[in-house]
Subunit: 354 residues, 2 copies
């Protein structure tokens, strides 16, 4: 274990701020050590021809000895490609984005690109700031789950050749590729499922109305109710932030009063987990269908019936389309809509409690 | 909606590959349009003094009209700072990393830095490839959840000034900052809790033995058993990948045979969710304590008793330490260990079934 003492010196050197950016070895250092010209080092580093095996070996030894690494920032400027794509999503901590992010990363890696990742925290200004910061770093393309509804700020970037695919929600004010789940159809099916099990007083708790998926799912709820000839009362619909406090209040309000709802449709996974809690705390059974599947939903009593979307497939489809844009094999923006799947587990099949 | 036709032209232009990197406006274009010199544009873009308000306005108008954006890749080369940090984790889709990633990102943003994110998929080669790719992009620092156990490949980078903090698992073969949860103490407490409730035949299902947290938690299990004078049988310990198939087989084997275990300690959240399933399918009750909290654990019957670690606090502590390295206010690497917390919910308080 005597490497520790040796390493501590390295560590201290690293932490001497004046040396922070000072002592990174350059091609000049490599050339000097190998006793060759700068152009020769450059040839070896960039894998160009015209170097004898013996010279190449000497240069390689110098590179290894000095710990030289090619500065890709310089190559970006020369070649105009960073071999990286950006992913802008809403919240790194939302489990919905986990499989989506991993799928985008897998496609990026298959194309030799690095994934650069950041979140907008559902703030349009922060989305724009992050997107432009990524463009300034010359990412080849962007996969964006938009927080804002006006993306004209992206026009100069798209014009300059940044490939762009929106996922989960469409772009605003510009015509761009978008990969979505069928939020409208999925919500309509989920609410129709509750109606088919005898419910008429059905609540809808969703995300903020300006969010496309939230608006579409509300539209699906309204369509299902209208198809069944059920007039919707305002007290049955609650849209807003999906933090537990807000959702809890909304659910408790719907479940109180003279004519409470007998079923709740939860607009996304964040809403569902809180709705499950509120219902579990109550005395009478309340039917529940949630949009998005959630882990362990099958082990709860009753199991949680959900309208599942394939988050990984959303990410995969969007990323593959992004690289097809970069290949130049795509011409016009398209809207790709993926189907949802109703998974019945018990909570959505309970009859009305009164 | 007549913006669509207009946008389609923009979109088509963007997709003409020959124009992909051709038509990004340059400072020269801005200078020409504003009728000023290149140096003046540069002053305005970089916020340097010596430009009259009127000239600055004309340059700004040209910048807006052309959609010019400063190329930060160029600035990186001039200033040596990208104002970005890298985060290398094991799996973007593991819910444990969600709050950790978000916490790192929040700290990065507070320091005006962008988070660049990637995953190693628990593959040491992929970890090194990703880390060096991030270094080649001149990130200021790295927060690494290591997959490998030899990080000497990072020495040239650290020497060159890349700040480095390991989190969740320590670095191998180099002396670097690390922020950990107390895996040993947490596992020992969790197993002691099962012993206190009358269990003696207790199984341990963990991740691959080469993973530090897995080895530490097994050590905690052994320590608790030894403290209680209980000889551990090999059949009670199973380490390996945490995919559902492997964990299911391990749990079923421990619960079968002449003297099955009466309790299971699950080495992490991935193991816990599968162990919960296997136990729920069985006829007799089996006590369970899991390392890491899991969503909805409190709503299962029985609720899942866990040894919780604070993933967000791990990320926050590591990122703050990273920026203190960059400030030059840290001298020597430290090992910071965060405590775990036993949360009793029922599954860990069940007596032995026989």
């Amino acid at each position: 274990m005597d490497y520790r003492t040796g390493q501590r010196i390295v560590a201290e050197t690293a932490r001497r701020t004046e040396s922070r950016y000072g002592n990174r070895p350059t091609m000049k250092d490599v050339a000097a050590r190998a006793g060759v010209g700068l152009k020769t080092v450059s040839r070896v580093v960039n894998g160009e021809p015209g170097v004898t095996p013996d010279t190449e070996r000497r240069v390689q030894e110098a590179i290894d000895a000095l710990g030289f690494r090619r500065n890709d920032s310089a190559r970006v400027l020369r070649k105009g490609r960073t071999a990286s794509i950006g992913l802008v999503l809403e919240d790194l901590a939302d489990p919905f984005y986990g499989p989506l992010s991993r799928a985008v990363e897998e496609v990026a890696r298959a194309h030799g690109a690095l994934l650069i990742n950041g979140s907008s925290a559902e703030d349009p200004d922060r989305e724009q700031e992050l997107v432009l910061a990524l463009c300034a770093r010359r990412v080849d393309g962007l996969v964006i789950i938009p927080a804002g509804d006006d993306h004209r700020y992206l026009e100069p970037e798209i014009k300059a050749g940044v490939a762009t695919v929106f996922v989960d929600r469409p772009a605003g004010q510009i015509d761009a590729d978008v990969v979505l789940s069928d939020s409208f159809g999925g919500a309509r099916d989920g609410v129709a499922h509750l109606i088919a099990h005898g419910h008429r007083r059905i609540g809808f708790i969703g995300d903020m109305p300006r969010i496309h998926t939230s608006a579409e799912r509300l539209r699906g709820y309204r369509a299902a109710m209208e198809d069944a000839g059920i007039p919707v009362e305002d007290a049955w619909m609650s849209l807003g932030v999906t933090d537990p406090q807000r959702v809890r209040k909304a659910a408790e309000d719907m479940l109180a009063g003279p004519s409470p709802v007998t079923a709740i449709f939860a607009g996304n996974n964040r809403v569902t987990v809180t709705a499950v809690r509120v219902i579990a705390e109550g005395s009478r059974p309340v039917a529940l269908v949630g949009f998005d599947d959630i882990e362990l939903a099958d082990l709860l009593k009753p199991g949680v019936t959900v309208v599942a979307q394939d988050a990984a497939q959303l990410g995969r489809t969007a990323a593959e389309r992004l690289f097809r844009q970069l290949d130049g094999s795509l011409v016009l923006p398209e809207r790709i809509e993926l189907p949802t799947r109703l998974i019945t587990r018990g909570s959505g099949e309970q009859p009305p409690s009164d």
